[in-house]
């Protein structure tokens, strides 16, 4: 077979269990979205198109051998940085400058960085002796903080955090010394006041509201309170598909984007949440398994980091809708309605599959 196909292009190499998990999640997500959008077929259709593009990217990337990805990594990272800088100057958006108008479509350069940063750090570390020393660690942090700072300035705290986290995971998997981890955690804790200072007012309000949502139940606390009511009133088995009153009566804001999990929890109950979490955990676990199967350092670090970052989406989003975490704009992967993040996520899984499919073809 291989002989029939030119060069590195071989028979599609998929990790079928992972692909199945992603497909189940995506299709289920469309159903949830149908209900959450108030039975808006148009929304579902557009999401379907995005998923198709995402799976297209997944298939395409899964066929690109890791060494090609590896070689392109610095360029991708550099391009991402340039676009981020461009966004600072030419960005569009209502209150934030996240989008770059490409004429045909608008697009968030920060999304690229969700992939480019772990790729870059994996690239940087892949031919260095691990665990990384002080110098390498420092360099790696510069590589991840530079784009993160640019993204924070847009401001888009959620994406910035995801970028930082994905980079940190890469370092962690590379064997970052516990002393560093402790130090970073310490610095992180110490920098909270500084973080507070650089935050936008709306972000500060989110934190304030998070700490005490009842202080302003009709204003800033509304989202959290209504989301908790939606989740709680779902009970064990849920109100049934399309029967969630909190969402259908528009009590939940952002119900088909960031708060879609509230809708899901309301309509499918705790059992639904349990199954959903199981599915996410399966995907993350399978991703980590794949990472462990790969033979080269770059693949391993990247695959591991992508899998772990994926779970962060789920955990942060789940914590947000259930009132455990402040409201940050992090979508529920593959279910929230949203443009580039779906493509990015599926592209990430494409990379994972590529790393897996080519695990025995190390050059």
């Amino acid at each position: 077979m291989k002989s029939l196909l030119p060069g590195w292009l071989g028979w599609p190499r998929f990790d079928w269990p992972l692909l199945a998990g992603l497909l189940i999640l995506s299709v289920a997500g469309l159903f949830v979205l149908y209900s959450a959008s108030g039975e808006n077929m148009d929304t579902v259709y557009r999401q379907g198109v995005r998923l198709a593009i995402g799976f297209g990217a997944l298939i395409a990337l899964s066929q690109v051998p890791p060494y090609v990805l590896r070689r392109w990594t610095p360029w991708l990272y550099t391009a991402g940085m340039l676009l981020l800088i461009a966004t600072l100057f030419f960005g569009v958006g209502r209150s934030t400058q996240r989008w770059l108008d490409m004429g045909v479509t608008r697009f968030q350069p920060s999304e690229i960085m969700k992939l480019a940063v772990p790729m870059m750090i994996a690239w940087y570390l892949h031919d260095r002796r691990l665990p990384p020393g002080i110098k390498q660690t420092f360099t790696a942090f510069v590589l991840l903080l530079a784009p993160a700072i640019l993204i924070v300035r847009q401001p888009d705290l959620g994406t910035a955090l995801l970028v930082i986290i994905s980079g940190c995971f890469t370092l962690f998997l590379a064997g970052l010394h516990w002393r560093f981890i402790a130090a970073v955690a310490g610095i992180g804790a110490a920098s909270i006041p500084a973080l507070w200072l650089i935050m936008q007012e709306y972000q500060r309000n989110r934190i304030r509201t998070f700490l005490n949502p009842e202080s302003d139940p009709l204003g800033a606390g509304w989202n959290i309170i209504q989301s908790k009511i939606a989740v709680g009133s779902g009970g064990l088995l849920g109100k049934g598909w399309q029967l969630g009153t909190q969402s259908h009566l528009e009590f939940i804001p952002e119900r088909h984007t960031d708060f879609i999990l509230s809708v899901f929890a309301e309509e499918f109950g705790f059992v639904g949440v349990l199954i959903l979490m199981g599915l996410y955990l399966f995907i993350a676990g399978r991703g980590l398994y794949i990472a462990g199967q790969t033979r080269d350092c770059y693949s391993r670090l990247l695959a591991g980091s992508l899998s772990l970052t994926f779970t962060v989406y789920v955990l942060v989003n789940g914590g947000m809708v259930s009132g455990l975490l402040p409201v940050v704009g992090i979508p529920l992967p593959l279910i929230s309605y949203g443009g580039t993040s779906i493509v990015t996520l599926l592209a990430g899984f494409g990379i994972l599959m590529s790393l897996y499919g080519h695990r025995n073809l190390i050059r």
């Binding site: 892949h126 031919d127 260095r128 002796r129 691990l130 665990p131 995971f169 962690f172 998997l173 590379a174 064997g175 009709l218 209504q226 908790k228 009511i229 939606a230 989740v231 709680g232 009133s233 779902g234 009970g235 064990l236 009153t245 909190q246 009566l249 528009e250 009590f251 929890a265 109950g269 705790f270 949440v273 349990l274 979490m277 996410y280 955990l281 993350a284 676990g285 980590l288 990472a291 462990g292 199967q293 033979r295 080269d296 350092c297 391993r300 670090l301 591991g304 772990l308 779970t311 789920v314 955990l315 789940g318 914590g319 259930s322 009132g323 455990l324 025995n360 190390i362």
Partner: protein, 669 residues
């Protein structure tokens, strides 16, 4: 990068393979570090770094790195599982432990109860002519919950629509009645221009809306004010007196008259809608609707035509007139002048306009028919005379000599007749016909105040009649006990004498007089007069007749006594010398009547100062009571014309007009 990793099949299992990898690595001659980071700085070129060989790369220990990775990913995965468990425990806390609470909140969130205001019952006169109905109007409403900045919203609205002075303050008062998500009326009865103006700018005012409603209209304006009363804006005091839940959507309530007395029937029962709303409070669908029970339609016993006749007959003079059907106790007409237009009160009268009405010299707010206290004067004589006959103080033939003056033993000043040299010997019928004071001075004196009081009380003097219009006064029927209680003084015989001609302490209201006369006319059945004639519940085909309650039966000793008094009263109108012969009708029916002259306020004066000269004072009020036909009476009336002078001249024609209007119109429906 280390050397090519030849080993391992496809699925090999990363967990248990590290030992094997280590051996292979050893076989390949790559240094095996015992522990992490044990490598010295020895630097070797990787054979695989190819053309892009970079200097300063450490030798990579593939196995150690794999080990590190496995370890780290195991830690990370464990942490993630832990975090997912934490998240799930949070969801179970919300969805299982606190399910009940959130389920309730979710239901409360979407379901609201909206009142469905019942339509106020219509009011008709006895012949079915509408006298109070409801017309559509628009009011401006605001939902506080949906308005971000109340003050600036109200200010902006004020620029479009005149909200009157201090709209915010008034709004704050009104708002206390309502819940946060209920709408609060800002202004009633918007003009068409205001409605249009708001419609244009409506999108600027979230939470503000123009709402149609029905507003009371009184078709005859001031003609029926004192009967109907009026509805006005519901205030805190009103609310304390009613079931608040039933008035949730109601803006107006009966403030006086029939509107107040029959508020419960006219209002009906509020319905309610269970509606599903979205977060903005917009009603998405009605889940359940309990229809309101609309207010009862009321048919009054008032005949607008008779009412109009009295109204016109009274002219501009202040006064009052009441007509009662003696056979049923139904009130046929009730006029008090001056009056005012109740429609002004429906939308809230301005305080300046209200002051003007309040301070108006005629005091139009007083319903003279039930609140005007007048000396009955000579109109009391038929009752005193009947008492004399029934109690055996006199008989039908008893005669008294009227010489113009009546002297009480021991007193120097005489009690006078209106005719200077008296009327000569008169019996009871002549005494009534000519209104001979002396006859009644002597009769009262012989009866004594106790018997006089007790007998007159049978006819309801000194007591509120219990008519179905609020705030009736009781008048005053003096007695020994009353005087002792009131003044701490004993009763003087002279006071009995003047009580015999309805003066002194006596105070009656026009309705009391009419009711007493009706009681007499029907042979002693004392009804509590009714203005309500029939009551039609919403949805019913037929109205239910309302009967006036019978309060008591005046004991009848001898029907001839009653007939004698009737004859005396008939002669007042039809007798040759009758004081009211001027109103004798040309047509077939006969009227029994009695004139009277009185002052508005009973004077607190001693016996000596109290004499008939006062009765001739310029400011006397003219009174007349009458019923007709004499046989089988159909109408009993009492008329007071303030400052009218003689009752026969001023008040009797009004009574006549009333009787004509009633008896001469076509037969009853």
């Amino acid at each position: 990068m280390s050397g090519p990793d030849e080993h391992g099949g496809s699925g090999g299992g990363s967990g248990g393979g590290s030992g094997m990898r280590r051996k292979i690595a050893a076989a390949l001659g790559v240094g095996v570090g015992a522990s992490m980071g044990a490598h010295s700085g020895s630097r070797l070129e990787s054979p695989w770094s190819g053309g892009g060989a970079r200097a300063g790369r450490a030798i990579k220990d593939q196995i150690v790195e794999q080990e590190i990775f496995d370890q780290r990913s195991a830690i990370a995965f464990s942490l993630i599982v832990l975090a997912v468990l934490l998240l799930l425990s949070r969801f179970s806390y919300l969805q299982i432990i606190n399910y009940g609470e959130y389920a309730t909140q979710s239901v409360n969130n979407r379901v609201r109860f909206l009142p469905v205001t019942p339509n106020r019952g219509l009011i008709y006169d006895r012949r079915g002519r509408p006298i109070a109905d409801n017309v559509p109007a628009y009011r401006l409403e605001l939902i506080p919950e949906d308005v971000d900045d109340l003050e600036s919203t109200v200010r902006a609205l004020g620029a479009l629509i005149d909200l009157g002075p201090d709209p915010l303050e008034r709004f704050a008062t009104a708002r206390r009645r309502y819940r946060e998500f209920d709408s609060v009326p800002l202004k009633f009865n918007l003009s068409e221009v205001e409605v249009a103006r708001f419609a244009v700018d409506r999108h600027h005012f979230e939470g503000v809306d123009v709402v149609p409603y029905l507003v009371r209209r009184y078709l005859h304006g001031e003609l029926l004010t004192h009967v109907l009363g009026y509805v006005g804006r519901l205030d805190a005091d009103d609310l304390a007196a009613v079931d608040e839940g039933n008035y949730r959507g109601t803006s107006h309530i009966g403030k006086s008259g029939i509107e107040k007395h029959y508020e419960n029937r006219l209002h009906g029962a509020s319905g309610r809608e269970r509606v599903e709303t979205n977060a903005q409070g917009r009603v998405l669908r009605v889940l359940e609707r309990k229809e309101p029970r609309h207010g009862d339609d009321l048919v009054l016993s008032i005949d607008v035509q008779v009412q109009r006749a009295v109204w016109d007959a009274l002219g501009d003079r202040p006064g009052a007139a009441v007509a009662i059907d003696p056979s049923t106790g139904a009130v046929l007409a009730m006029v008090s002048k001056p009056s005012y237009d109740p429609n002004d009160f429906v939308h809230g009268i301005s305080s300046a306009d209200y002051r003007a009405i309040l301070d108006s010299p005629g005091k139009p707010l007083i319903n003279r028919a039930i609140q005007g206290g007048y000396e009955p004067g000579s109109t009391l004589k038929p009752f005193v005379g009947l008492g004399g006959l029934e109690l055996g103080v006199i008989d039908r033939q008893s005669e008294v000599l009227s010489s113009g003056n009546f002297y009480l033993s021991g007193a120097e000043r005489p009690y006078r007749d209106w005719k200077e040299d008296g009327h000569g010997w008169v019996n009871i019928q002549e005494a009534l016909e000519h209104s001979v004071n002396t006859y009644f001075y002597e009769l009262a004196y012989n009866m004594g105040i106790d018997r006089l009081h007790d007998f007159l009380a049978h006819f309801g003097f000194g007591q509120a009649t219990g008519v179905d219009i609020p705030n009736e006064i009781s008048g005053l029927l003096p007695s020994r006990d009353w005087k002792r209680g009131r003044y701490g003084e004993p009763w003087y015989p002279g006071e009995t004498v003047i009580a015999g001609i309805g003066q002194g302490f006596n105070v009656t209201t026009p309705i009391q007089l009419a009711a007493a006369l009706a009681t007499f006319a029907n042979g002693g059945v004392r009804f509590a007069p009714r203005v309500l004639y029939a009551n039609k519940r919403a949805g019913d085909q037929r109205a239910v007749l309302v009967r006036a309650p019978v309060l008591s039966q005046v004991p009848v000793n001898d029907a001839d006594n009653w007939a004698a008094i009737t004859e005396g009263m008939r002669r007042v109108v039809h007798g040759v010398q009758g004081t009211a012969r001027g109103i004798r009708p040309e047509s077939g029916y006969q009227i029994a009547g009695k004139s009277g002259t009185a002052q508005v306020f009973a004077q607190d004066v001693s016996e000596d100062e109290r004499d008939v000269e006062v009765a001739e004072h310029l400011r006397n009020h003219a009174l007349f009571i009458a019923y007709a036909p004499v046989i089988n009476p159909k109408i009993a009336v009492a008329v007071v014309v303030e400052h009218g002078g003689g009752g026969s001249r001023e008040a009797a024609p009004v009574a006549r007009a009333m009787i004509d209007a009633w008896l001469l119109q076509e037969s009853e429906p």
